[in-house]
Symmetry: C2
């Protein structure tokens, strides 16, 4: 069950294998948006993304007998690298199915951690079928990137650390793709600080969470058109259920705001953030979300970008 | 006089106005170079560079009568922004002479802090003449970017903080342009820890420090050909005197190593470092400097880059 106790247990379990990432602030970004912003820098996390939290928790929760057959997943990239690293830490195999349009940086990252990669077509169906076949052949444990409960619990540990460092936040802005981070974050944040508001943010070009939240049931994403490659998945059922229960709203952001926001973070904070990680800050640029006078936590989810293909130098899709 | 007491006094004076920047480490970079590296992140400093330390120390050391007439300087950029900010903090004018080929990011930075900019030809002579004229007109106090003793003392505070956090360093790698940071760093480091070695690093394309060190007197740079725009100046006399007395050697690095090193720092540490800041790390890539088994402090001097013109996307000079 995904609750505060599970997230606290995850934190104890993963602590030896992950970094306690810093929280950055910037007077000039505060001035620009009218609130006080606290950036939890998961771009500095092991493997360059918060995904290491959930992956380590899932892998180290397996029994020895389960672990011996290895783990498998499909992922657009960051969960893949995180699972490969977690498996290596435990000394077991990681079978990774990646869409063929994954960025080079993310593929290299998975290879570097010893993951056994199988590329497939960039559709949900192809990912799942390929992964099912590998699991049938190997007996590996499926570690789904966002519906796995241990993964969600691990992802929730980032906001636990943020709230330990900055207890009096009014609002958390959390990106949503499949909803693993969102489920863990909302569960942890609302349990530790019931008065806090959690708002999910997603690219308008992969706007299933906003549409599903409004409709009261999941409306699958038919076509994702966004540079934020970590947020192209349709939300999972357990993730959506948590969102319905604990999240105050869903903001969507344009591609222009994601790119402008990413660039402002690089220029001002002097850090490398990937497009998905810039999505919460982008919501403050769109003027559809006011945070005047509020203390706002933002999770900078990752920093794995292809430095040869920065978005402000590319034609937009 | 530039000594440990002056640097400690500078630290007390500037502390309210600067950041105590973090020290980052990376297992993968350690593995790559065989030593244990500690990166002092002055790219996160106010105005994006260590130059804020020296500028604040110089401006806040002026008497009220001196300060009332403002301050002036010539600078390739980071000292300019730092001086403009320091002057604004004290409520006085800053007259800034910048070479016309300064990066847009650096010019914007100076403007943002209220500096009054005069552009001039990118030669030492033009910079000095323009600055002299402005001083004659305004009575402003000249705050030279690297020969000013208060500036040197301020720059030395970064390594004081680094050694407070990591006392048992064997070696400091410090970039050298005009030599302000080098003079402050060597003075502070050798006073706090006499056994430490300080090695200066500069681009081969602006290799006056290495040639001067070998010759025993300053050999002025006739033509600087390097992407490291913070390191294009000829060393100052007082700076060179400190180098002769306290520095163990000077390493030079190629443009290729600077660019490759800068990129590795971005990809691995997930931080934005400007070319000049990558120069010390680049020395470890060139294989002309072995740090096997050593604990090495590196000062990442700044993070002000033009994100539209990253060096790995440009034709080389």
């Amino acid at each position: 069950m995904l609750d505060l106790a599970a997230i606290q247990a995850a934190h104890t379990r993963i602590r030896p294998h992950i970094l306690r990432t810093p929280v950055l602030t910037s007077e000039s970004l505060d001035t620009r948006c009218g609130g006080k912003l606290f950036f939890k820098c998961e771009n500095f996390q092991q493997t360059g993304a918060f995904k290491s939290r959930g992956a380590v928790n899932a892998v180290f929760s397996l029994t020895d007998a389960e672990a011996a057959r290895g783990v498998a997943t499909h992922s657009s990239g960051n969960h893949a690298a995180a699972l490969a690293r977690a498996a290596r830490l435990r000394g077991i195999a990681a079978y990774i199915v990646m869409p063929s349009n994954s960025s080079k940086a993310k593929i290299r990252n998975v290879e570097a951690y010893g993951g056994r990669i199988t590329l497939c077509d960039p559709t949900t169906q192809a990912r799942e079928e390929t992964c099912d076949r590998i699991i049938a052949e190997t007996g590996a444990a499926m570690i789904h990137p966002f519906t796995n409960e241990r993964v969600m619990a691990g992802q929730g540990t980032a906001v636990l650390e943020l709230l330990a460092e900055v207890p009096d936040l009014d609002l958390i802005l959390c990106p949503v793709g499949g909803g693993g981070l969102l489920a863990g974050t909302a569960t942890a944040a609302k349990a530790v600080r019931p008065a806090i508001k959690v708002i999910a943010v997603e690219p308008a070009g992969a706007g299933d969470a906003a549409r599903s939240f409004a409709a009261g049931h999941i409306i699958p994403l038919e076509h994702a058109a966004t540079i934020a490659d970590g947020l192209r998945a349709t939300m999972g059922e357990p993730n959506f259920a948590v969102m319905q229960r604990l999240v105050s709203g869903v903001a969507t952001v344009s591609e222009e705001a994601i790119i402008a926001g990413m660039r402002q973070l690089w220029e001002t904070l002097k850090i490398v953030v990937e497009p998905s990680g810039a999505v919460p800050y982008a919501a403050l640029l769109e003027n559809n979300l006011s945070v005047t006078g509020q203390r706002v936590g933002l999770i900078l989810t990752g920093g794995n970008v292809d430095l040869d293909a920065l978005p402000w130098m590319m034609k937009q899709p």
